[in-house]
């Protein structure tokens, strides 16, 4: 068995580990706890001042709150993205596509990889956005459900279609009209993320896996099955397996899916609910099969011949990470030009060749084939018709449903 060697971790794995921690360790350090216990009594005295606190209602505004657009004066744009979500050249210092953009438009991109997790990032920008202040960011990238929440709260700005000709023309039909942003008034897709079943051939040892039902029921896989801690992916795949449509389900359907998963948890079938760290369980063979993100599987497969994936007959979930312009952003036009740039086939192909997620841009295949023939023919990167037909999205949830469903899912995963 392969020994653990810290220096063999790739930056991607480290990023994945960090990403899987919803909020780092800062929340419960030794010091904060010591501090907390030392002065617990102190707080009791402050009770009187408590009622002065409170969190104001989120400013609900249609179309977002613009600031004065300094795009013409300041040729710059502040782009916050996830780690490992942009092409990098061999030296590891340059982002070729971003540099092309700067060369062509003269707009400098301040690129920051400061998003590790949706929930964590939401906690980070919430105070400023709730108070109607500038976050210092012109573009942020968030997964669809959180993008939907920000739109619902009125914290992002409406995009100007005049600045987005390529984006308007080239966005794949599959992503055109999500229910949380009909007609893409506020957001454009950065990349799509497919949720599939991944397995380790060696660990499966001949056991046949074809569907989520196999994962949940086959006694030969007891204790060697993984699900994702991302509620929409795990429940969505289960709903599909039960013949329900994740884009249109009732609260009862949801409860039924949770009950189905609960049964598997109770009999010890499911080993763990994981974030990105499932990749290590899968390569070590601790997971024989698990629900996984296709972008990771493409990379795992390249590293290990034992890893492969399958698309269940019942279909698979696709979510998206979306580009948004937060309220009070100072360089809105520059930001829109950057979004549009990534909808030109050439930069989109260069990006797709590097990061291996679902490319949301039509007409990329020919460009991608010039760079990487295999990638161009990989349905996980450029979905073909049959593949796109099996793709499903999770419907958007109201704020009340979101809390209720997350609470139920939290109970399922242990708390």
């Amino acid at each position: 068995m392969e020994q653990y060697e810290p220096d063999r971790l790739s930056p991607a794995q480290v990023a994945a580990m960090r990403r899987s921690f919803r909020n780092g360790r800062a929340a419960l350090t030794r010091r904060s706890l010591l501090r907390a216990s030392a002065g617990g009594a102190l707080a009791a005295g402050g009770l009187g001042s408590l009622s002065a606190c409170g969190i104001p209602a989120a400013g609900q505004s249609q179309g977002g709150v613009p600031a004065e657009d300094r795009s013409a004066k300041e040729k710059t744009v502040n782009f916050s993205n996830w780690t490992e979500y942009m092409d990098v050249d061999d030296s590891g210092k340059h982002h070729p596509t971003l540099e092309q953009f700067t060369k062509r438009t003269g707009i400098k991109v301040k690129y920051t990889e400061d998003i590790n997790d949706n929930n964590e990032f939401f906690g980070k920008i919430k105070p400023q956005l709730a108070a109607g202040q500038d976050t210092g960011r012109d573009i942020i990238v968030l997964t669809d459900w959180l993008a939907g929440r920000l739109i619902r709260l009125g914290w992002v700005q409406k995009l100007d279609p005049a600045n987005l000709p390529h984006a308007y023309a080239n966005l794949s039909a599959q992503f055109r009209s999500p229910d949380w942003d009909p007609g893409r008034a506020y957001s454009y897709v950065w990349q799509g993320i497919s949720t599939v079943i991944a397995y380790n051939k060696k660990a499966l040892d001949g056991v046949e896996v074809k569907s989520i039902s196999d994962l949940l029921d086959n006694p030969k896989l007891k204790g060697r099955v993984g699900f994702l801690s991302e509620m929409r992916d795990s429940v969505g795949m289960t709903l599909l397996d039960m013949g329900k449509d994740p884009a249109d389900f009732t609260a009862d359907d949801y409860d039924a899916a949770i009950a189905r998963l609960q049964k598997a948890v109770d009999k010890g079938q499911i080993r763990r609910f994981t974030g990105n760290d499932y990749t290590s369980d899968l390569t070590s063979g601790d997971f024989a099969a698990c629900v996984a993100w296709a972008g990771d599987v493409v990379q795992l497969k390249a590293d290990s011949p034992d890893i492969d994936f399958l698309i269940p007959d019942s279909g698979y979930m696709t979510s998206t990470d979306n580009l948004l312009i937060p309220n009070k952003a100072r360089h809105k036009t520059n930001a829109e030009r950057l979004i549009d740039f990534y909808y030109e086939p050439k930069p989109a192909a260069e990006l797709a060749a590097y990061i291996n997620y679902v490319c949301p841009v039509d007409g990329v295949k020919a460009e991608l084939a010039k760079i990487d023939e295999d990638a161009a023919n990989n349905p996980l990167i450029i979905p073909d018709k049959a593949m796109a037909a099996k793709s499903h999205a999770f419907r958007s949830l109201s704020s009340k449903e979101e809390t209720e469903f997350e609470e139920k899912f939290a109970k399922l995963t242990g708390a």
Binding site: M1, E2, Q3, Y4, P6, M17, R18, F21, R22, N23, R25, A27, T29, R30, L33, L34, A36, S37, G39, L42, A43, G46, L47, S49, L50, S51, C53, G54, I55, P56, A58, Q60, E120, F122, G123, R149, L153, G223, V265, G268, I270, R271, R272, D277, S280, D281, S284, G285, D286, S399, K400, E402, T403, E406, E407, A410, L412, T413, G414, A415
Partner: protein
Amino acid sequence: MSTLTEAPPPLAPQAPEPKAPKRRGRWTPYWLLLPGILWLLVFFALPMIYQASTSVQTGSLEEGYKVTWHFATYWDALSAYWPQFVRSVLYAGTATILCLLLGYPLAYLIAFRAGRWRNLIMILVIAPFFTSFLIRTLAWKTILADGGPLVGALDTLHVLDVTSWLGWTAGDRVLATPLAVVCGLTYNFLPFMILPLYTSLERIDGRLHEAAGDLYARPWTTFRKVTFPLSMPGVVSGTLLTFIPATGDYVNADLLGSTDTRMVGNVIQTQFLRVLDYPTAAALSFILMAAILLMVTLYIRRSGTEDLV
């Protein structure tokens, strides 16, 4: 914040009689305390008040949260998540005892027997801190992997049959079981036990051992009557430094555990970031704090060690 930049009142330039130094300003001690007090106020008192307030609020993200003195949140949180509380205390307690059992002999060895190896062993104790906490915890996943040599050996020796019967492991695996979480906690907090133990053992005068020997005490009696009582401050501060952070830890339970090993730290994290139920998360934090404060107070009272530091 002009107070921060103001210098303390200067001393009189030249005292007439050098023998009787002029009394310093009455306020000097307070000026010296000021940075510490401000620090506590901004980074401790204010967040505490804010959290306390959050725990009695009701509302939602869209409508905002208002203080409604809804103390029922505390009761609801406790009745929903008491198993996780019990589990946290149980796991942290077990890990603390294991740390003491493992750490004491090692600290004893470093203090009295290591000789010229002392510095090297100390470095070995501290060295893991140079690697990230996460990486070290993930390393345990490799060590305890299902197909790994360690688990294979334990299985062959039928140790796993015993631990499964006790409910510490499940079948022929160790990962994703309570045992793995306790192992992770023990490993991660061991240095916090060893260092205070070492400091208090090292302070013991070696002549006391000789004196005990002169009085016909056998080595074990010497340890029981002389060494161990004198090392009590180290034992108490070591157990506190291990138990308190271990109770609130959620990384080990997340990476090495499963659905039935989640600790209260995991619940707080989930409630705060995923479910967005801020009042419940704040209430849980306060209950945890109160529980730890209570346990630690009782413990210090019983152990009768007031001079910890």
